[in-house]
Each structure stands twice: as structure tokens, then as C-alpha cells.
């Protein structure tokens, strides 16, 4: 039921997106905080249409597949069926955030949706809740989330330089200076990490701990696609900087190689496909690095063809595992006769990835080769090598599964819910190979956004010895050669795989995480070993910082002694009382007396506030002091008499206390010596208070002038209370 409502929502969203695309799109702009230049700026243009159609269309098919797969998965573990509630809402949320990301036209908004997809993927990758899944989910969140911060930094850089975070405005205003280059590089880092490009690719194979529908969705239309979506969206900005374009080109080509070679080394089905995703998005990144109209069109068509093929292949891997119980290529084979429909459908998908004719994939490589040829000979040769790698690993995957001797016997026929989406996608890829116009139009519309100008995407079959055709033939031949020489290939790719394990980035990730954990444990251990250490951790750094400031700033004339008038007598009496109370609190060895002395000190200070004209502060001070006294009394009344012993190391306590006290004294004296600033914001607040129908400035500031701050603060208060409740009584409110 839950699954089918998810399917229904995805289908409705797909139809809406399709209608939106055919109607020519549209835009919504809601000013969120206009003074900060923050807008909810959503537009449905060609690029949005491409990715939103993928997210909802592939989403609907993956959801259908999930409706068949998840019950099997839960039974297999075993877990109760109601755990589907931990799955489907996140899947729909994933889809929604992806559509939002596709439509966002503002860097800050882009960042928000970017992180929402990361959050959704975190819960979905960690769905199985075992050690492996948790580690994988955390790795995905850390790698993509931390690098997403780079995108925010880039947005802030651009905002500071050009006063806007809106992309269309930035495209007009930004020049090709160092600021733009730095900001674009930062945004590119975030996008590349999300699209699992080397050297931040290692999270993606780990993320295979997720249930298969999640993998299928994550790799084809959501999470990983989000990275190249951002690249496509900000490309007019990136195109201003040749350095960033070259970075993309290099990273893309390296990723194609790393992903392709490692895919050849893998044995587990989903691992082969995961490494293939790294390689495939490497193509798209390479195309964005090449730049220009041809490459933009090729990139868009590439994303489209890859999404269709890759989701079908993932669902094939899951269906094979469901029917045979095996996950490894070495234990599978010859399934073609037993599962003919699955074999044909996934064969078309594999052919699409390998760019064979009569599939949509042929055109993606045709355009890729044309774009690479425009960029020069080295890239052209590398492109052929890349395509050959793709042919080799995807051929190894499909042939290993469906051809050869039968190894694992399928227990049952493929359930129709698992077969239907694969068959549909295979059919779609075939239709795309015969009638490419609708797909080309979608890709063209997307490329126009990427290119900020007219782009013509017109792939077609040319029966001649054109460059693209020759390159394709060379790639197939080379791929077949790699495929047919396993004795040469296998030791080589295994060596590369081992090298990656020893010195690869994943190892660096593990080491740095371990180091951070150790550091944190050490600091935590030092700080919270007893209460005095916690207090020391606040007092000593505070004293040290003030001493530093004291040493660094000129002090001449900033310490004023002033004079005492007769009217100040009550204040002096109160301060004297406070000083006496403080001494008592420090010296007394009893339990209740120091607390009461502290209260006296607090009330004396509240009295001083009231006299120097800060009644609001005085009121709050009185309330806080009362709360503190009451808490102490309440706790003491229930403590056993022996709990509070005389503190040891009195000398250390005295030294720390004196240092902090001296620092506070110096700071406050310095502050009081300055003439009070009445101009500026404070004066304006006082002037405007009658306008707000108020009499008390502080109250009006809290509720009106700084009302947004107050709203955030009260939300934080509520969250803190929820935190206390969950720590103390496992979330029970009462």
C-alpha cells in the first residue's frame, strides 16, 4: 500500500514534469529574506526538465521494482514489514529533493537541496542498520556533506564579490577573475564529490550496502546525478575559467580510467556496476570540461542514456540475487536460458552502456566522440580508450551472468514486479535507438541551459567512415580484445585494485577519521573527567584569550578610574555586599552556605543593574538567580550527606579562579572605561520603539526588531528540551 502510493506520487510527478516540459516550463520566485538577497528562485527549464523527468520517471520504475523487492529484502534479513515505513518516505523525499535541486536557480538554494539529497541517501544507505551499512551511510554523508560546504563557501565568495547568489544574475555580472575561478573550483569540488569522481569516488562502492532499489535510484537519477546536475547548472560560470575546465577534464578522464579498471577487477555484481558509475559520470565530467555546445549536448544525452541503462542493470543484479541467492559473478553464469526475458532486457541495457547501434547508447558515444575530436588528438585517443573500457567491463558483466555454463540454479522465475521495470527500460533504450528525436530534444533543451545559448543536438546514424564511426569501431575492437584476453587483463586489474587498497583515498579517509576520533576522545577525556576539569576548560582559555588581547592592544588611556558621587552610595553598598558574598562562597566549606552566598551575590548584582537603568536585565538576573538557587537546594536536599567532600588541590583551584577573575576584571574595567556609544543601531532602536507601539526598548527588540533571532532561539530551546527528554527518558515527553 505504502509502496504503491509512492509509485503513484512518482507517476503523478512524472506526468506533471512532462506536461511542464512540453508547455515550455515556467518559474516561481518568492522573496524569502529580500534584505539578504535570499530568494526561493525555482525555474523549470530544459535542464530541470531533464533531471526532474529522470528523478520521477526512473523513480516510478524503481519504486515499482521496490514494491516487489522490499518485502523479499525484509523477510530475508529478517525484519518486520512495518520497517517499510523507514524506506518509502525517504525514497519519496529523495525524489522530491532531487526535483527541487533540478529547479533551483540560486546557489544557496542549490546547496540546501544538495544537502537534502545527502540526508535522504544517508538514511537509505543505512537502511539495513548493520555495521557495514552504517559505516557506508556515514562515509557517503561525510564525503558528500563535507565537500558540499565547499559549495557554500564558493557561493559566499561570489555573493561578496557580486552581491547576489542568483545564478542568472551571476552569469551576467561575474568576470573571469580569480574570485570566480576560486568559487567555481570550490563548487566543482562539491559536485565532483557528489558524482563520485576520483579521488573522492570511494564512498560510492561502499554505498552498495544499500538495498538494490536504493542503489539503482542513487546511481541513475538521484544522488550521483546531483553532482553533474550542479555542474550543468553552473556551467556558464565555470566556462569563464579555463583552469576549472581543465580540472574537470583531468578529473573526468582519471575517473573514467579508475572506475573502468576497478570495475574489471570486481567480482560482486553491484560492485562492478558501482565502479562503472564512477567511470560513466567521468564521461559527463569530461564533457563539461571540454566545454562548448557539442559537449553540452553530449553531456545531457549521456546522463539520460546512462540513467536508463544503469538503473536497468542494477535492477537486473537485484533480480538475479533474488532468484539465485548469489551476489558474485564467479558463482553465476549461463542464466540466459533460464531467465530469457531478463537476459534480453538487460542485454539491451548493457548494449546501451557499451554504445552498440540500435540502442540509445550509440548516440551518447557518437556525440561524445564528436566533442572529444573537437578538443584535439590526446583527448580523442583517451575517449576511444574510455569507450573500450566500458565495452569490456559491461561485456564481462552481462556475458558472465547470462552466457557460459550454468553455475547457480535459479530457485524461481523472476517475479513480474522485478522484471517489468527492467523490460520497460530495455524497451525504452531500444526505442531511443530507433527514434532518437524526443530524447535529443530533451537533451538539447538541457544543453541550452548549460550553454546559455542555442544548442543543436542532432544525433543520427551515418553510414560512412566519419570520425565518430571510426572511433566507435576502434573502441569496440579494443574492448573486445580486453574482454577476450582475461589472462592478461586479470592480473593487471587486480594489481591496480591492490594498489588502491594500500595507498588509495579510502585508506586516507579511514586514517583521518581514526585520527579525528582519537583526538576527540583525548580532549573529551581530559575535559570531562571531573567537574573541575570542565570548568577549567572554560575558565583557562577565557583567561588566556583575554591576556592575549591585553598584550596585543595598547592599554594607555583605556583604563579609567573615574570619580564617585554621593548618589552612587547604594551601588557601592551592593557591590561591597556582592564582594563579601563572593569571598564567602569561595572560602566556606559547608554545602548550602556557599550556594546561598552565590545567590546573595547574584541578587546584589541584579540590584546594581536595576539602579544603573537596566530593569530588564535586572528582572532576568533575579529570575535566573532564583532558578539557580532552587536547583541547588533541590539537588542538595536529595544528595546523600557524604557526596560532597572537601575539594582536593585547592591551590590549583585558587590559581585558576584568580586568573579567570583577573581576566574578567581587566576586560570589564576596560569596557566600562569607554564612553558609552549611543549612536548607531542602539539609538535607532530607541527612536523607533514608539513606532512599534511599545514602551520598553528591550522587549520591542526581542519581539519585533530582532524577532527573527528570537524565533530561531525559541526553536533551539524546544530542540534542546527534546534532546534532554531523549537523553534522560528515551524520548518520552512525560
Amino acid at each position: 500500500m505504502l509502496a504503491w502510493s509512492a509509485v503513484a506520487s512518482a507517476t503523478v510527478a512524472f506526468i506533471a514534469c512532462l506536461a511542464g516540459w512540453l508547455a515550455g516550463g515556467g518559474a516561481v520566485e518568492v522573496a524569502w529574506a529580500p534584505t539578504l538577497g535570499l530568494h526561493l528562485d525555482l525555474a523549470f527549464d530544459g535542464l530541470s526538465a531533464l533531471y526532474a523527468l529522470l528523478a520521477t520517471g526512473i523513480g516510478a520504475l524503481v519504486f515499482v521494482y521496490g514494491a516487489g523487492y522490499l518485502p523479499w529484502h525484509l523477510e530475508h534479513l529478517p525484519r518486520p514489514h512495518r520497517d517499510a515505513w523507514r524506506f518509502w518516505p525517504w525514497m519519496v523525499f529523495f525524489m522530491g529533493s532531487m526535483v527541487g535541486l533540478a529547479c533551483a536557480r540560486d546557489l544557496v538554494l542549490l546547496f540546501v537541496f544538495f544537502d537534502l539529497t545527502a540526508v535522504a541517501s544517508y538514511f537509505l544507505i543505512g537502511f539495513d542498520r548493520d555495521r557495514d551499512a552504517r559505516g557506508a551511510a556515514l562515509m557517503a554523508l561525510l564525503v558528500t556533506g563535507v565537500s558540499a560546504v565547499a559549495m557554500l563557501v564558493g557561493a559566499v565568495l561570489l555573493y561578496n564579490a557580486y552581491g547576489t547568489s542568483s545564478l542568472p544574475e551571476l552569469f551576467e555580472r561575474a568576470d573571469s577573475g580569480p574570485t570566480t575561478t576560486a568559487a567555481c573550483a570550490l563548487i566543482a569540488v562539491a559536485a565532483l564529490a557528489k558524482s563520485a569522481q576520483a579521488p573522492l569516488h570511494f564512498w560510492l562502492p561502499r554505498a552498495m550496502a544499500a538495498p538494490t532499489p536504493v542503489s539503482a535510484y542513487l546511481h541513475s537519477a538521484a544522488m550521483v546525478a546531483a553532482g553533474v546536475l550542479v555542474l550543468g547548472r553552473v556551467h556558464p560560470l565555470i566556462a569563464k575559467s579555463d583552469a576549472v575546465l581543465d580540472l574537470l577534464l583531468v578529473v573526468g578522464l582519471v575517473s573514467i580510467g579508475v572506475g573502468g579498471v576497478l570495475a574489471l577487477a570486481q567480482d560482486e555484481l553491484k560492485q562492478i556496476l558501482a565502479h562503472s558509475t564512477i567511470s560513466q559520470y567521468g564521461y559527463v565530467v569530461t564533457l563539461y570540461g571540454i566545454g562548448g555546445a557539442t559537449a553540452a549536448g553530449a553531456a545531457a544525452l549521456y546522463v539520460l542514456a546512462h540513467a536508463i541503462a544503469k538503473s536497468a542493470l542494477f535492477m537486473t543484479a537485484g533480480a538475479v540475487t533474488v532468484t539465485t541467492g548469489e551476489t558474485r559473478l564467479s558463482r553465476l553464469g549461463g542464466l540466459g536460458r533460464r531467465l530469457p526475458a531478463l537476459a534480453v532486457a538487460s542485454g539491451i541495457a548493457a548494449a546501451t552502456l557499451a554504445a552498440l547501434p540500435l540502442t540509445l547508447g550509440f548516440f551518447k558515444d557518437e556525440l561524445f566522440f564528436s566533442a572529444a575530436s573537437e578538443h584535439g588528438r590526446p583527448v580523442q585517443l583517451l575517449a576511444v580508450g574510455a569507450a573500450a573500457l566500458t565495452v569490456a567491463y559491461i561485456g564481462r558483466f552481462w556475458l558472465g551472468l547470462f552466457v557460459g555454463p550454468l553455475r547457480a540454479r535459479p530457485h524461481e522465475r523472476v517475479p513480474p514486479l522485478l522484471l517489468a521495470p527492467v523490460a520497460f527500460l530495455g524497451l525504452l533504450a531500444l526505442v531511443g535507438g530507433l527514434v532518437v528525436e524526443p530524447f535529443a530534444r530533451l537533451a538539447g533543451d538541457a544543453a541550452e541551459v548549460t550553454q546559455s545559448g542555442a544548442v543543436e543536438v542532432a544525433p543520427a546514424y551515418h553510414l560512412d567512415a566519419g570520425t565518430a564511426n571510426v572511433m566507435a569501431l576502434a573502441a569496440w575492437a579494443l574492448g573486445a580484445l580486453v574482454l577476450l584476453t582475461p589472462r592478461v587483463r586479470d592480473p593487471l586489474v587486480r594489481a591496480v585494485g591492490r594498489l588502491g587498497q594500500i595507498a588509495g583515498p579510502r585508506r586516507w579517509y579511514a586514517l583521518s577519521l581514526l585520527g579525528l576520533n582519537r583526538l576527540s576522545d583525548w580532549a573529551h577525556d581530559k575535559e570531562v573527567r571531573d567537574l573541575r576539569n570542565s570548568i577549567t576548560a572554560v575558565l583557562v582559555p577565557a583567561a588566556a584569550l583575554i591576556a592575549l588581547a591585553f598584550a596585543a592592544t595598547p592599554t594607555r588611556g583605556s583604563y579609567d578610574v573615574g570619580s564617585i558621587a554621593l548618589g552612587d552610595l547604594p551601588i557601592i553598598v551592593l557591590l561591597g555586599l556582592g564582594a563579601l558574598a563572593a569571598l564567602t562562597a569561595a572560602r566556606d566549606k559547608g554545602r548550602l552556605r556557599p550556594v546561598l552566598a552565590l545567590s546573595v551575590l547574584g541578587f546584589a548584582l541584579a540590584g546594581v543593574y536595576a539602579m544603573v537603568g537596566a530593569p530588564d536585565v535586572a528582572l532576568v538576573a533575579v529570575l535566573v538567580e532564583t532558578v539557580l538557587a532552587l536547583v541547588f537546594v533541590g539537588v542538595f536536599a536529595r544528595l546523600p550527606p557524604t557526596t560532597l567532600r572537601r575539594p582536593r588541590r585547592r591551590a590549583r583551584n585558587a590559581a585558576i579562579g584568580s586568573a579567570a577573575g583577573a581576566a574578567a576584571f581587566a576586560a570589564i574595567w576596560g569596557a566600562l572605561s569607554r564612553p558609552t556609544a549611543t549612536a548607531g543601531v542602539a539609538a535607532e532602536h530607541i527612536d523607533r520603539t514608539p513606532d512599534a507601539h511599545g514602551g520598553d526598548v528591550v522587549t520591542v527588540i526581542l519581539a519585533d526588531f530582532r524577532g527573527l533571532d528570537t524565533m530561531v532561539e525559541i526553536t533551539v530551546l524546544a530542540v534542546a528540551v527534546v534532546g534532554v527528554a531523549s537523553l534522560l527518558s528515551r524520548g518520552r515527553a512525560w
Binding site: R688, A692, D696
Partner: protein, 145 residues
């Protein structure tokens, strides 16, 4: 605890609520706001906990168990007041009536959205603090031998 405390402390709740009400009614024109009012009410409740112990305090005043609900509704109310101007196309936390417009007054109470916002803050603070007192008191009671 002495008998006098046991008799006096529970009876302080009424006056405390009165003080809190006064702070809100006078609030916008004078010292004191929703936060202070909430703390005053929570203080009186906390005093009951200290003198009677958690169990008796909660038995004698069953309404306390609505504290979490009060806190949440206060938060939602305040957020609603803060964000409804967005629907009207104004920035968030725009208060009505606007500057210069006349204000309806009932006694000293001025009917503005700022006061309503303050009421939300009051409910949130009072409810949250009572909830905290409840949680901490339960902890203390459980640890007792």
C-alpha cells in the same frame, strides 16, 4: 522540609501565575516579557517539586503533564505569528498593526501581533522549563537509594 514551607510553597503558584499574566498584559509597554513570565510560572512549579518531591507534586497538580503539549503549541503559535506575514507578501516577523496605525487597547493590554508572539514565547518557556524540571526530578528520584 519544614511544615511552613510545605504549606506555603504550593500556594505560591497562584500569585506566580498572576505576576506572569501581569507581565504579559503590561509587557509591551513596560519591563518584562514572555520569557520572564514563563520563568516565573516555572519557578513556582519548581518550588513545588523541591518541597513536595516529584511524585507528590505531580499528583497534586495533574495538569502539569500537559507541559510538553503547552511548550510545543507555544512554539508553533509563535512561529505561526512570525511567518504569517510571508503569506501576505511581507518579510517574516512583520507585526500588525503597522507603525502609525491605531492599536486596540483593553485596559493596558495592547492587541498587537507582537503581544501574541510574546504569549507563544511564554507558553514555550513555561512548558519547556516544567518539562526540564520533571525530567531532572525523575532522574534524582530514581537515583535515590
Amino acid at each position: 522540609m519544614s511544615v511552613i514551607l510545605e504549606v506555603v510553597c504550593p500556594r505560591l503558584l497562584g500569585p506566580a501565575v498572576m505576576v506572569a499574566a501581569a507581565m504579559i498584559v503590561k509587557g509591551y509597554g513596560d519591563v518584562g516579557d514572555g520569557f520572564s513570565a514563563g520563568v516565573v510560572v516555572a519557578l513556582a512549579v519548581a518550588l513545588r517539586y523541591v518541597t513536595l518531591g516529584a511524585e507528590r507534586a505531580e499528583r497534586s497538580l495533574p495538569a502539569l503533564r500537559f507541559a510538553p503539549a503547552v511548550a510545543i503549541s507555544g512554539l508553533l503559535f509563535a512561529l505561526a505569528i512570525g511567518f504569517f506575514p510571508v503569506i501576505l507578501g511581507e518579510p517574516p516577523v512583520t507585526h500588525y498593526p503597522r507603525a502609525g496605525d491605531p492599536v486596540v487597547e483593553i485596559g493596558t493590554l495592547e492587541l498587537t501581533t507582537a503581544v501574541a508572539f510574546d504569549v507563544g514565547v511564554f507558553l514555550l518557556v513555561a512548558g519547556s522549563l516544567v518539562e526540564l524540571v520533571h525530567q531532572l526530578a525523575r532522574l534524582v528520584e530514581e537515583r535515590r537509594p
